[in-house]
């Protein structure tokens, strides 16, 4: 095991001297962590509204007012015809058009009902869905206002009404940053863990120093540990820095324990580094290794539930995520940070990741041959 000490010494020296590495490993993730959460806000707000008002009465204006003062919508276009209003949607000036027919107020009074038309740019389904729901909600509210104004309601409501109260647990401010930052941390640590480690080994292959190792009495396991351990420590360091930034800059403090995060992260890193190692045993050139690890990492990231919910995926895709270590970590990060989950809550994920770690590292060790 003494050989291991020398291997580690060499690795750490090399890493500490590589300026590009330093930049990539520490500065870039920090920048990402500072910019990404600012960008990653899915909240539906600032919906651009276009209005086509054929009625031009006090009531149509009141309606428009109510909508614009709700805070969800910004009035960006006021057109004379639906065609014009549609044009604004085409150019993405507006997301949604409200068309108030002429005789709106009159129909309401005379015929007891009136119809409004809403056209929504539905390319973004969630935005359209929520935008549509919001505006319908406001219209209904307005409807109630109008009724209250025009008729005297009996004190006792003649109709059965179900009142729906909703509570939002775990993220009462509905802040997307709280949701995204843990996930972004995971993504950064993962990229560093797997791609970087894989690349490092293939670089030694390309430079020929690996041959020197192969011809020496160093055992396979020692060599692999000698690569695993430094990167493991490095990734945990990045994680720590990330958590500090999350706390200082975003005020995100885990509801659960930091220890839980670290325990899980350690196991996770073993798995993800193992994957990187495995990939490196198959690649001959850095270009290959970079390509493969890049695409694998991308697939893992995009399909991890970080950006889009796993439940929205088709069944076969959800099955795939079960084989994606990243999705487990994202899940766990969110659970521990936002819901205060503890070790017992995540034991399924821990076992899964242990499984991955053993599988990847085992395969890597078997596959790595000192003699070809």
């Amino acid at each position: 095991m003494r050989a291991l000490k020398f291997l580690l010494q060499k690795e750490l020296r090399q890493i500490s001297r590589d300026k590009a590495v330093f930049r990539i490993l520490f500065i870039m993730p920090m920048i990402q962590l500072l910019i990404l959460p600012l960008a990653a806000d899915y909240e539906i707000k600032n919906i651009n509204l276009g209005v086509v008002d054929h009625d031009h009465t006090e009531y149509s204006r009141k309606l428009i007012n109510k909508i614009t003062s709700s805070g969800y919508f910004r009035l960006k276009d006021y057109s004379a015809s639906f065609q014009q209003g549609l044009h604004a949607i085409e150019l993405d000036k507006t997301d949604l058009i409200l068309e108030i027919p002429s005789q709106f107020e009159r129909s309401l009074v005379k015929e007891n009902q009136s119809t409004l038309f809403v056209a929504v740019n539905a390319i973004n389904g969630v935005k359209a869905g929520l935008g549509g729901a919001y505006i319908q909600g406001i219209i209904q509210d307005y409807n109630q206002d109008v009724r209250m104004q025009w008729i005297q309601y009996p004190r006792f409501n003649p109709q059965p009404t179900i009142e729906v109260t909703s509570s939002d647990w775990y993220n009462p401010n509905m802040n997307y940053r709280v949701f995204m930052v843990p996930g972004i941390l995971v993504m950064l640590v993962t990229m560093i863990g797997s791609s970087f480690a894989a690349n490092n080994i293939v670089r030694e292959k390309e430079m020929g120093t690996i041959e020197q190792i192969n011809v020496s009495p160093i055992k396979k396991t020692q060599f692999i540990l000698g690569k695993l351990i430094p990167f493991w420590m490095l990734a945990l360091t990045v994680l720590t820095m990330g958590l500090i930034i999350a706390r200082l800059v975003y005020g995100i403090v885990p509801l659960g324990h930091y220890i839980t995060i670290y325990i899980f992260a350690s196991i996770y890193l073993l798995a993800i580094l193992g994957l990187g190692l495995l990939m490196s045993t198959y690649a001959q050139t850095q270009q290959q290794s970079m390509l493969v690890s890049f695409f694998v990492t991308m697939i893992f990231n995009l399909l991890s539930g970080l950006y889009t919910p796993i439940e929205s995926m088709p069944a076969w895709a959800q099955m795939i995520t079960r084989f994606n270590p990243v999705s487990y970590f994202i899940e766990v990060m969110r659970m521990v940070m936002l819901k205060g989950s503890g070790l017992s809550d995540i034991k399924y994920q821990i076992f899964a990741l242990l499984g991955f770690a053993i599988f990847f590292n085992g395969w890597a060790i078997l596959n790595y041959r000192k003699r070809s």
Binding site: A20, I24, Q32, L36, L38, A39, D41, Y42, E43, I44, N46, E90, L91, N112, L116, V118, A119, N121, A122, I123, G125, L130, G132, I135, Y142, N143, R147, I151, F156, Q159, P160, T161, I162, E163, V164, T165, S167, D168, W169, Y170, N171, P172, N199, Q287, Q288, M290, L291, F295, M298, L303, Y307, T308, P309, E311, S312, M313, P314, I320, M335, K339
Partner: protein
């Protein structure tokens, strides 16, 4: 000129003979389009929920069934206490819990007023909102159904029409973005790696000593990738239309033209990166950090640009993918013509020229 073509041929052979890389270059985009096209969506469906029914009467059971039957929800389990709700949330198993108080139906019929509580896991606020909205509208439907005879006076009805994507399919929003992402990545990363590899191995110097102008060398390097990219554009479009059911409502030729333009922009970006990176590793990581993430973030398909702080919105303007994404949406999904996208097209053209200009200038200096 002839020298130029010889050079192009050499570059082509490099790619052609590295079968592994070629394989990846052609298949990866296909795999990605399929994967992301199908899997990346924020449509809400089959969200796991729990129901805490203290009433267990006809009304609560009916509403529970309606909710469970909806395609938005999938009942994971019935629970018996708030504590259980809490635990289930903490285990990450459900997104929404529906609570019916004791005597629900009685209250409803005799006092005309009953409550249902919806508890949403607001970790993901949008999903929480959507689920709450859907559940509420199902409950409202039930309320309507028992109110059939009464009609409220002065009713304002709202007809909502969903344009371009009536079924609210996630693919219509994401696929154009994935197209941008994949194209950008393949082009830019590959050129930068290839050029830097030659630098690292020292063959670059040999080439530069040859009578061919440096600028032409660079262009010659990118031409094979342009060809591969066209293949990619074709496969991406085919898959989008036939596998992902995303229509091409606008002019097909326009779409191809814009895609080629975007490819050239991405290649120019690749050249710029290759000028600044000294090793392959740096090239890869620079590509990753300055291409993948910005494209992901600022193209607009994953995160809404309008929500970002102004500073970031400004930055998003220099990300080529943002403009291409708009163009693809406009042409493919909205079916608009060149008149709608000429501005974005001009921007891409200007970007390309600027990138190439900077690269050429840098390249001459850089070789020290």
């Amino acid at each position: 000129m002839k020298q130029f073509f010889i050079f192009v041929k050499k570059e082509w052979l490099h790619i052609w003979r590295d079968k592994r890389t070629l394989f990846i270059l052609i298949w990866m985009p296909i795999v990605q389009i399929l994967l992301y096209g199908f899997a990346l969506t924020n449509e809400v469906k089959n969200s796991k929920i729990a129901i805490f029914d203290e009433a267990k009467d006809e009304a609560s059971t009916t509403i529970s069934q309606e909710i469970s039957a909806s395609r938005y929800f999938s009942l994971l389990k019935n629970v018996d206490s708030y504590k259980e709700i809490e635990a289930t949330f903490r285990q990450g198993k459900i997104r929404l819990a529906v609570v019916f108080p004791r005597g629900f139906r009685n209250d409803l019929l005799h006092t005309n007023h009953a409550q249902i509580q919806l508890i949403a896991d607001a970790s993901d606020p949008n999903t929480a909102n959507m689920l709450t909205n859907y559940a509420t509208s199902i409950i409202n439907d039930y309320q309507q159904s028992i109110n059939q005879n009464e009609k409220l006076p002065y009713t304002i009805k709202t007809q909502v029409r969903m344009l371009y994507n009536p079924e609210l399919k996630g693919a219509y929003n994401f696929v154009p973005g994935v197209m941008a992402l994949v194209l950008m990545l393949v082009c830019a990363m590959m050129t930068s790696i290839s050029i830097v590899r030659e630098k690292e191995m020292g063959t670059m110097e040999v080439i530069l000593v040859s009578p061919l102008k440096p600028f032409r060398i660079i262009i010659a390097k990118t031409i094979p990738y342009l060809l591969v990219s066209m293949l990619n554009i074709a496969s991406i479009l085919l898959l989008s239309v036939y596998a992902l059911d995303v229509p091409i409502r606008g002019n097909f030729g326009l779409l191809i033209g814009e895609s080629i333009l975007f490819t050239i922009t991405s290649l120019s970006l690749g050249i710029l990166i290759s000028n600044t990176a000294k090793t392959q590793q740096t090239a890869q990581f620079t590509s990753l950090m300055s291409l993948f993430l910005p494209t992901l973030l600022f193209s607009g398909f994953l995160f809404p640009i309008e929500n970002m702080p102004i500073a970031l919105q400004v930055i998003s303007n220099i990300v080529p993918a943002k403009w291409y994404y708009i163009i693809v949406k406009d042409v493919m999904i909205k079916g608009l013509g060149f008149g709608a996208v000429w501005k974005e097209t001009m921007i891409l053209i200007v970007m390309t020229l600027a990138l190439l200009g900077i690269s050429i200038r840098n390249f001459k200096i850089r070789l020290a």
